[in-house]
Amino acid sequence: MAKKYELNEVEVWDGNMAAAHALRQAQVDILAAYPITPSTPIVQNYSKFLADGYVDGEFIMVESEHSAMSGCVAASAAGVRAATATSSQGFALMVEVLYQASGMRLPIVLTVVNRALAAPLNVNGDHSDMYLGRDAGWINLCSYNPQEAYDLTLMAFKIGEDLNVRLPVMVHQDGFICSHTAQNVKPMQDEEAAEFIGEFKPVNSMLDVSNPVTHGVQTEEDWHFEHKARQHHDLMNSVETIKKVFKEFEDRTGRKYDMVYTYKMDDADVAIFALGTTVESAQIAADQMREKGIKAGVVSLRVLRPFPFNEIADVLGNVKAIGVMDRSAPGGTFGAMFNEISAALLARGKSPVVLNYIYGLGGRDTTIEMLKGVYEDLAKSAEAGEAVVPLQQFVGLRGPKLAFY
């Protein structure tokens, strides 16, 4: 039996330590992982917990991220709780198996510390890995600080393992700015966390020799479509479980989570949409804009997948101008969030000005001044009733201004 880890009411943890403690409290049976900056400390911390007797399960240091996710798939199919952590190139190497995990309906938890994708090689934070895997059929939860990384990692197990869901879950946090920045975190005690998550409920366990089961079949044109449709159906319907788990967590801790995160949106004329740590910076910028008389607000997603289409249209539908911040190289089009948010607004008959900002690539600092500049663009466009700047701008970039459309 694993030793209880005595925790203070308030701990000072960075995002990696917060995620590692959540994995420890989940008493993961098989954690198969491979180190990569900036998520490495998650598995280092976890290894130390194991070495000190705080974990009963097994940590398998495999030879690649491909094997890390493959090991999680096999362990989960064997009917045990499995999790891992990764970033960037490691995430990219896992992509093949991410689709296998979701297609095989295995509730694996993956803590992703977001980092840029090469080339050029870069170890710092942006969201290109998150965007790469967003359509892999996983539930995607987004945190902005270590407390949320902890909370959402605990909740990820409970959501994914719910028998109505049975899907893998990713929990995102920003590389370095969240993962390596120590902040106050209020943890649950071990027994309360264990009670909250609950025992793992094996389904079609390969280890049950009385019930042979075939995992990972082939389906061609006769059945593949039905399988993928069922998977999408259940991913869409996981919203119900996600909301239920958010509520139960709020009842226990007082910390409230919703599908969409909003800040000062009740009377906002202009809004920044962003993901990750930028959400907190944008709130400071919004406050400063409000001092100047501009009604600024902030919107983010707590749940990137399943995408809260209606909620996004509702919270952004009545503002005059929106700046959608995409922290990933758009690769020949608009940023992914710009496209998704624009689609939600259009489909619901809303037509605010929507501008796209590409920012923070490879860990480029995102300043309050920069975000205030975005609000200035938005305020001018709101007043004119149309975009007074190009629809897509690169902000925080050195050299000549870069803009498209």
């Binding site: 398998i60 491909h66 493959s70 296998q100 280890l207 082939q218």
Partner: protein, 332 residues
Amino acid sequence: MVKKIKNLKEFSLSNDRFEGANLMCPGCSHNIIVREVLNATDDPVIVATATGCLEVCTAVYPKTSWDVSWIHIGFENAAVAAATVSAAYEVMKKKGKLPPATQKMVDEGREPKIVAFAGDGGTYDIGFQSLSGAFERGHNFMYVCLDNEVYANTGGQRSSSTPIGASTTTSPAGSVSYGEKMMKKSMVEIMADHGAPYVAQVSPSKWKDLVKKVQKGFEVYGPVYINAQSACTTEWKHAPEDTIEVSDLGVDSCVWPLYEIINERDEHGIIYSTKLNITYRPKTKIPVEEYLAAQPRFRHLFKPENRHIIDLWQKAVDARWEYLQKREEAGV
């Protein structure tokens, strides 16, 4: 628990956990090998399979040919799949949380045997990293390579197991080419050098030898590698009814020598002895030419301009047979 096997008739009729009702080609060796491996034990078996002929022909939804728990993830990860199922088994055993039926078997001394099957593409090439990692970590499982020396499932492309002179769809023989240019990779020695407790080469035509080796493999703790000759009627292009004869030609010409390598370890895991045993010695070592002549994939080698490749083959096979005998004699 080691299963007692009296004779072929009894063996062929014993507890069948892999159904012949599948989509494999008539005359495919894979079927024979898998049945021989699974029938070597009466203990529970759990199987992982790489993408390949065996996988696509035995688990097409909503049907399955497997009456054991079975998993397929991808092409390159059968080793880590089996290894992690093994690790999951050990964790649950330690925690006392095995499913009741499984716990009962364990209490009776019948621990599940965890086996990975993959072709040579999934073993020598794309799955090699996963295989090497799983063996280095020392998981308790058996890995069986169904070696038909070609990517048969995707239409007969060369792999690093394809022997010199074979005509494949990506190393075709032509007016200026005798086919594959490279010698086959020495997978058995490579896996033995990982320090695995037991490594062996087998042929389905020598079923007793195969079963004995599989049983030895099941008795040791740690990763076991079995390299199984898998004559491929589709890509070696022999007649379906000649599978066993072609396999025997391979064994009797010493193209496919049957041997085992045992790494014995002390209680600290240090290998104190490595022994290579040749387990089958042909009464008359037949010329390699006869083995090649039985397979149209080598037909072009019999043209005058390519005869030197047959000579090269014979030299290579003789040298390798000599090497194995020397190792056996030296007890290393």
